[in-house]
Symmetry: C2
Subunit: 317 residues, 2 copies
Amino acid sequence: MMKKNCVIGIDMGGTKISTALADLNGSVLSQCTIPTNAFEGEEAVLNRIISTIETVLKEAGKTPVNVKTIGIGSPGPLDSKNGIILTTPNLPFENFNLVEPIENKYNVPTYLDNDANVAAIGEYMLGEGRGTQNMLYVTVSTGIGGGAILDGKIYRGNTSNALEVGHMTIVQNGKRCNCGNYGCAEAHASGTAIGRQGREAVESGAETSLSNYSNVTSYEVFKEAEKGDRISKEILDESLNYLGICIANLVVVFDPEVIVIGGGVSKGGQIVFDKIREVVNTRCFKSMSESCRIVPAGLGADAGVLGAVALAIIESK
Amino acid sequence: MMKKNCVIGIDMGGTKISTALADLNGSVLSQCTIPTNAFEGEEAVLNRIISTIETVLKEAGKTPVNVKTIGIGSPGPLDSKNGIILTTPNLPFENFNLVEPIENKYNVPTYLDNDANVAAIGEYMLGEGRGTQNMLYVTVSTGIGGGAILDGKIYRGNTSNALEVGHMTIVQNGKRCNCGNYGCAEAHASGTAIGRQGREAVESGAETSLSNYSNVTSYEVFKEAEKGDRISKEILDESLNYLGICIANLVVVFDPEVIVIGGGVSKGGQIVFDKIREVVNTRCFKSMSESCRIVPAGLGADAGVLGAVALAIIESK
């Protein structure tokens, strides 16, 4: 009898599908990445996913019989209980049941979860959250999202939308957010917010080296701040202060062992983590701030697919 | 052989000790309340607790053999794992091990938890949280505290200090809080904060019916606001708006089924819940705000002791 000794993780993105076959410790045995070609529609994308599964099985010399579980990470919003991608800005899907056809084809239990939860599970099992029981993952890029492992289990909430940390109100009469509210953390401290403030500074005619760029994003603001540009430094200081308040609020509410921060803004380096730490130390009880590590995500470019592998492993238990 | 068919709940307060013996469904069979007389010291208080246990056993015709578990609620901070009250502003205790002597005397497993967690467990088992899986309890009185039942279990966090919801920063450069931080929800929206603003209005010479009182607390502000006093209404509107932001932030982070609000301010009635609901509806995703009930605590004057009973029952399982 063949042993079920591996899992498959699938990272569904707007531009690419990345699939890996791994053992039950999360060591990748084979991996494959192809373009999503989302414009071809739901059925075509499903077939492309299946082709990646075939590829990783073949490369590792395995068959579906060896596979214990399959984990899929996808942008949300989605219905993880029923395995359905509801709608997503970057994929032309609507109420697309991704789990059922894969489960039926391979007769392997298949699990779907959103990007942030999958990243949280990945960090918990394979990254910076290893060995902890209470861990938060916060991603700061276009938006600000999050996932939580509480008492060793992923926490999803009543409607599977928990940890919308970017939509905590940080500034009572603050900037308008895409969600319609004013003063969300996301409207003040995301990569998008940092880039927007850079462009506004250029447009207002402020004296800043950002005006040397035709297109200013958060990347340029970080770069010019590091070179000493005063305006860029002010923008970063304010935005990272708001990010710090967001993280400090998570510390007092969750009392976690570690907060892992991923996404583009986390790649801004030491300045990001120094500022967050400063705000957390100022605003939280000493016992809680001291016992909580705040660290950059440990999984690199493969975080998405490793997270999907981790989802498969955690669900196999 | 006698059956272990009941539990004992003990509510330790600064002024009184309330103890109840209940069946495993939480129905109280006997109850007893005596002054704490905290000034007499730790040993004396322990003996008074034991006297209440003897009383409720005797009154219900039970012996320690019938008791499955004992639950104790106490003001924090405390070390619930080891059953130790660390220090508390209203009780002259320091590193007082309350659990060990009781456990040893009666040979019954005994559990200690803080006020807010015990109230949360009480509402979850016997009050407004019945039948839910994800429930938050928020108490708004002198301070603002909370407890969470997540996926059917009490969530305590890494250092047993989770749900310090009153110390979320709501106003970046806001009022100084007792904790040392500026702009905590507690500094802007607790009963203490409402009363302080009332007194400040009187002292500033504002035209307000609050000046008819020699001592203004949140109670008088609610009372005069109801009678139409403009200043009292303004104070309440602002404070309840901040309380609403605090609750809205909990909705987006926890995606709960219900938030139960207790404490003195929750007795302010409909105006409190109308304002919170308005802010939550404005600031949260519709799907999350619509699926979350926000209701006053269901357990009345006996909430403390019923919560301790519920703690005993939940730990007996």
